[in-house]
């Protein structure tokens, strides 16, 4: 998920400053919708390294929005971890976004609390919140290899639906 040449300066800036995340918007559309490309973003992880969603397009991807005070989100993390293990040998990408986080330590501590094996990005960004219509968390977005949103779950997701949605995006050609 490393970003390309065009964003190199952006990475450097973030590494130096670790300032509140400044999302880079590709402006695919106003809000996330099933059957459409996801709104693009580029946000830093706990090392200040910027990750761009655009670089994941073409891979099955799960986006997971959460924050620090969400009991149900911790249950969905269990689903994500199982998917991570089950599809380890595939190109499935799991990206978590903490919508309260604007700081490397913030993310590091969240990842430590749940022993997250996948990326978490600093998602405290008004543009991100509005483009994914984050009012309630969790929000789980399933993106297919075709770069289109296949499923979009607000509030919570049943394990069965989560597993079916994951299988669908991973197993689809």
């Amino acid at each position: 998920m490393r970003i390309g040449l065009a964003a190199t300066l952006f990475v450097t800036t973030q590494l130096v400053a670790l300032a509140p995340p400044v999302a880079a918007w590709a402006g695919a559309q106003d809000v996330a919708k099933v059957g459409h490309p996801p709104p693009l973003f580029a946000l830093p992880d706990e090392h200040g390294e910027v990750h761009a969603l655009a670089d994941l397009l073409g891979r099955p991807t799960i986006l997971y929005f959460t924050h620090n005070q969400c009991h149900y989100c911790s249950q969905v993390i269990a689903f994500l971890k199982r998917a991570h293990t089950r599809y380890e040998s595939t190109d499935l990408a799991i990206v978590t976004l903490n919508v309260w986080a604007d700081d490397a330590t913030f993310i590091r501590r969240y990842k430590e609390a749940f022993d997250l094996p996948f990326d978490m990005l600093a998602g405290k960004d008004l543009g991100l919140l509005r483009s994914y219509e984050v009012n309630y968390v969790p929000i789980i977005v399933f993106i297919g290899r075709d770069g289109l949103i296949r499923h979009l779950y607000h509030h919570y997701v049943l394990q069965e639906d989560f597993e079916q949605s994951t299988a669908e995006i991973v197993e689809a050609p």
């Binding site: 099933v34 009991h71 149900y72 501590r109 609390a113 219509e133 009012n135 509030h155 049943l158 394990q159």
Partner: protein
């Protein structure tokens, strides 16, 4: 609906079961659906109950340098009397007051011995006598009014909300009439979605678009429109309780994250004072065929208030962002919020000891 969700097709208890949590003692947000059982909330005059509000610190971040916990503490006022307050925990505490609206809170700071501090519990126990209340005459200075005319980044007006407000308020200029029209308009607009277990921000643009939500959403939209019409409004944050039959003992546990709380508002009209409104309860009552109109100007006693206001800055001020509202104990280490369930947990239990009808 503009997004694909299975939320309406599944039941939250089913989600909890599938997620392996079990169901004992869980209560969803908003007041209990007593209306469905044919119980008339307006018939309840007072309720008394004991509350145990406990915060359990499970673990701390490996490199934590300090720990701060803020727990809301209810205050006595015309609607409720708080007695027998008892606080227990291994760490020293102080009781502080929020600067804008005066909400009380318990503050605990731990700066030494952090490596061995967790796990530990902090518990506040108290007795609540809660009364059925109506409008309360009061004066409001221009200075004080200002703080009740302030919106937040999420509780905001948009062009769509303004258009809706123009349609439902019309030419009304009397605050009481504006309040009534907005309450009824929002009930017509929104669907009370009890399947939402998550944690909301009360984003009025989202609410207006999706036209569903819980108490936080109903009252955020109500607040935005009332402020846009120049009517001072106060946000009340608390917890819901069931309405038991007289003589029946009821005890239970409220969810301790951001889903088990309840909120309501009151607006100021010079000729009536503070007028309480519970728009989401009114909507639920109407849907159940009981008199939702009771909840415009009146509140049933099956609730208790723990704080006032939104976008809450605690005392001493937290390192993180202002809290959307302050129902749950909040904890930080080094200015960074702890992670709910992993680092800490809130356990709120109640036992109703007396009910009086009228």
């Amino acid at each position: 609906m503009p997004w694909t969700s299975h939320a309406t097709a599944c039941d939250r208890r089913e989600f909890i079961r599938v997620a392996g949590l079990g169901t004992a003692g869980l209560v969803g947000g908003g007041l209990r659906p007593s209306h469905a059982a044919g119980i008339d909330p307006s018939a309840y005059a007072t309720m008394e109950f004991d509350v145990s509000y406990r915060t359990r610190i499970h673990t701390l971040p490996s490199n934590a340098r300090d720990l701060h916990i803020w727990m809301p503490l209810p205050s006595s006022d015309h609607a409720q009397t708080i007695s027998n307050l008892n606080i227990e925990g291994p760490q020293p505490h102080e009781i502080t007051t929020e600067r804008v609206f005066g909400s009380r809170m318990l503050h605990i700071a731990v700066t030494r011995g952090l490596a061995d501090a967790a796990p530990f519990d902090v518990e506040a126990r108290y007795h609540v006598t809660r009364r059925r209340v109506g409008a309360r005459r009061d004066t409001l200075s221009a200075d004080d009014a200002r703080k009740f005319l302030t919106l937040t980044p999420t509780v905001r007006m948009t062009a769509e909300i303004e258009q809706f407000a123009e349609r439902i308020v019309g030419r009304a200029s009397d605050p009481y009439e504006i309040g009534r029209r907005v309450s009824e308009g929002i009930q017509d607009l929104l669907f009370y979605d009890k399947t939402i277990p998550g944690c909301g921000t009360g984003d009025t643009a989202w609410i207006m678009k999706h036209r569903r939500g819980k108490c936080d959403d109903y009252h955020s939209l109500y607040m935005a429109i009332m402020v846009s019409r120049g009517v001072p409004i106060r946000w009340h944050q608390g917890f819901p309780l069931p309405l038991p039959e007289p003589g029946v003992s009821v005890a239970g546990q409220l969810e301790g994250d951001c889903t088990g709380a309840h909120c309501w508002v009151s607006f100021y009209a010079a000729d009536r004072g503070w007028v309480p409104v519970d728009v989401s309860e009114a909507d639920k009552a109407n849907d159940a065929g009981t008199a939702g109109s009771f909840f415009f100007g009146n509140l049933s006693p099956n609730r208790f208030q723990v704080s006032v206001g939104r976008a809450v800055r605690l005392t001493p001020e937290q390192g993180g962002d202002p809290l959307t509202s302050f129902a749950y104990a909040y904890a930080e280490s080094d200015g960074i919020p702890l992670v709910y369930t992993a680092n800490y947990e809130n356990i709120i239990q109640y036992a109703i000891t007396n009910v009086e009808m009228s």
